[in-house]
Amino acid sequence: MAAFKSARQLLDYRKKLKSTTSARRRTIAVCAGTGCKALGSFSLFDAFTSELKKNKLTSHIDLVATGCHGFCERGPLVLFHPEGVLYQRVKHGDVAEIVSKTVKDGKIITRLLYKDPNNGKQYRKEQQIPFYKHQKRMVLASNGHLDPTSIDDYIRGGGYSALAKAVEMGSRKIISEIKRSGLRGRGGAGFPTGTKWEICSRTESDKRYLICNADEGDPGAFMDRSVLEGNPHSVIEGMIIGALAIGADEGYVYVRQEYPLAVERLEIALKQARRLGLLGKNILGSKARFDVKINRGGGAFVCGEESALIASIQGARGVPRRRPPYPAVEGLFGKPTNINNVETWANVPLIIDKGSKWYAEIGTAGSKGTKIFSLVGKVNNTGLVEVPMGMTMRKIVFDIGGGIPGGKKFKAVQTGGPSGGCLPESKLDTPVDFDTLLEQGAMMGSGGMIVMDESTCMVDVARYFLRFLKSESCGNCTSCREGLVRLHELLTDICEGRANADTIPMILELAETVKTTSLCALGKTAVNPVLSTLRYFGPEYRAHIEQGRCPAGVCKALITYSIDAKLCNGCTLCLKNCPEGAVSGQKKKLHVIDQDKCIKCGICKDVCNQDAVLVE
């Protein structure tokens, strides 16, 4: 196929693609997202390929390796279209049976269906499963069936029609449409996207740049990765529309080095888009020109901050600078630059295609559209969920996430990455949107949602984030560089039983200084995890300081391991596995831990089948 010379040609091409494939054509979609891949979905895909060949079925059914379906907990996932039947935890050995029963005879193999651990109910179709039922998948809609390496797949499903529309609309109309939609930046700060574009487009300059921020650094967040890996063209299409709007002719995608597959998929997609004239000179026959380069990050969290990111693309250390001037006025190589996050870009084609009115009806008054969250930690259904803004935390954690595993009690949910906050049970009915989360002392961030149960120590969590941030501080501002180290020391004192009555007042005073005197958001928000846990989990701090006790049984210096005389059956497993030889006892008799030798590694508790190892 040669490059399209007009929007008309693109639409004709789609018609041709559609006429050659029936909408009712059957497809087996094997999830090849990071989670399922780690669980062996690539070898599953190969097994399907050879099994279909063996049964001479390759001309009857399509086999695709898709992006992340979101339900990582139950991977590897295999989805059948158009029936919508979902098989979960599929193993290599299941493939022959699936092909002979389900593909050939249309029979369901019940053992592979999802079974709700809470009530034992089995579900045949993906859309009936509570995890999917309560979601509203717009950005992730195509992830379950699209081959991310095929531009034809994307175009067939309506891809690049928003771009065709945008070429007709021109800059001013595009910007006003994005403004009317109410779209706010999905990277965390929630700045109105349309306004940002407008500022950049109005700044006098001979050259403008555009950047896609894919430096998804928040631990526990992987939505950008999944969008890039599963549907790279949606991001590229958003970027081209943005380029038309602000008049940029060069764009960059700045991807974390930890995401090699995302880089690979993007490279393929960019080549395809260039070949079809969607990138390069005279896009769809118009006067516009635009192309995109990929820059890999170097493993620095601070590079998610826009001015540090720009420094990094320029080949320097990723150190933030004072703003204003904002990048929209003075950015990459000193030129006006518009930066948006992956998820923001992926929302743009939806808005242009379906209209701002449609988009603005989804969500809350101040936060429109959907948001993707990565629901992780101590939750039954770990995975990627997309919900309308304003859904309550309770619905996300319990209805979609299926609650806490192992019958344990919910304790907190942490949102907003290392700079976010922890919300307790009493805040579970908070509607999740940009403004409400801020009011509660947390923040939206890029959408990581980490669920914690009664066995998570909130002081340890606060210390964890400080450890992370002190090592990621770029070192530019003294208050952040030194202050975070000292704060971490104070938290460590609490965790190790050295704290006293002065510790918390000292933490509060230091936190205030770091917050008010740091230049960029890393330092300004670094104290949020400490402040929010102090606000909601004060008694847990006091138990550490006043009683020398860690109620969750996490802080090593404050706990001891022992063996319950009633439960121990003398199986010798703990004795064999103890790395320090601290366990003694004879077969079928009670075992004892020598407290002087014990290093509190917890291996005995992990290996015990009787739950006889106690932590106090």
Binding site: T34, G35, K37, A38, L39, C72, E73, G75, E216, G217, D218, P219, G220, A221, F222, R225, S226, Q257, E258, Y259, N295, R296, G297, G298, G299, A300, F301, S312, I313, Q314, G315, A316, R317, G318, S374, V376, G377, K378, T382, G383, Q414, P418, G448, I450, M452, T456, V461, Y464, F465, F468, E472, C474, N577, P579, C601, G602, I603, D606, V607
Partner: protein
């Protein structure tokens, strides 16, 4: 100061040729490619890179030391990376890291004397559903337990000794 080990400068030249000269913005990408070829950033390669992109060796060194992803010392044959992301942390990742430190007799960030193993931490690889996660030579091993980790690494140690 030990002498820098000799490296194949031809392969550095090949990598440099993929990027136009005197373009500072190629620096981070270039360092990635060199590290992919050598598993670390040899001093000689850094000097050649500096000449190619038209920056002073000091600037290149500054960038190479700023980013956690770059290594200036030779790394082991096997790279064990423990994910220390939040989801992995609440599911017990710190204990797995301590176990590896004990078993390999090195601290995080170090390489064993026989250059067999390097132990590293990563902030999050976005495979949170599988936490705790240990990546060994690029393979993601999810839902890791101390017993499985002992088997995995123990097996590799034995193989190395034969």
């Amino acid at each position: 100061m030990t002498e820098a080990p000799a490296i194949k400068t031809d392969s550095v030249r090949k990598i440099l040729a993929n990027y136009p000269p005197n373009d500072g913005s190629a620096l981070v990408n270039l360092l990635h490619d060199i590290q992919a070829a050598f598993r670390y950033l040899p001093q000689k390669a850094l000097q050649m890179t500096a000449r190619h992109v038209g920056l002073s060796p000091a600037r290149v060194f500054e960038v190479a030391t700023f980013y956690e992803g770059f290594h200036l010392k030779p790394r082991g044959e096997h790279i064990c990376t423990v994910c220390m992301g939040t989801a992995c942390h609440v599911r017990g990742a710190p204990r797995l890291l301590e176990q590896l430190e004990r078993d390999l007799e090195i601290s995080a960030g170090q390489t064993t004397a026989d250059l067999k193993f390097t132990l590293e931490e990563v902030n999050c690889v976005g495979a949170c559903a599988l936490g705790p996660l240990v990546i060994i030579d690029g393979n993601y091993n999810g839902n890791m337990t101390s017993a499985r980790l002992t088997r995995l690494v123990g097996g590799m140690q034995k193989k190395g000794k034969k």
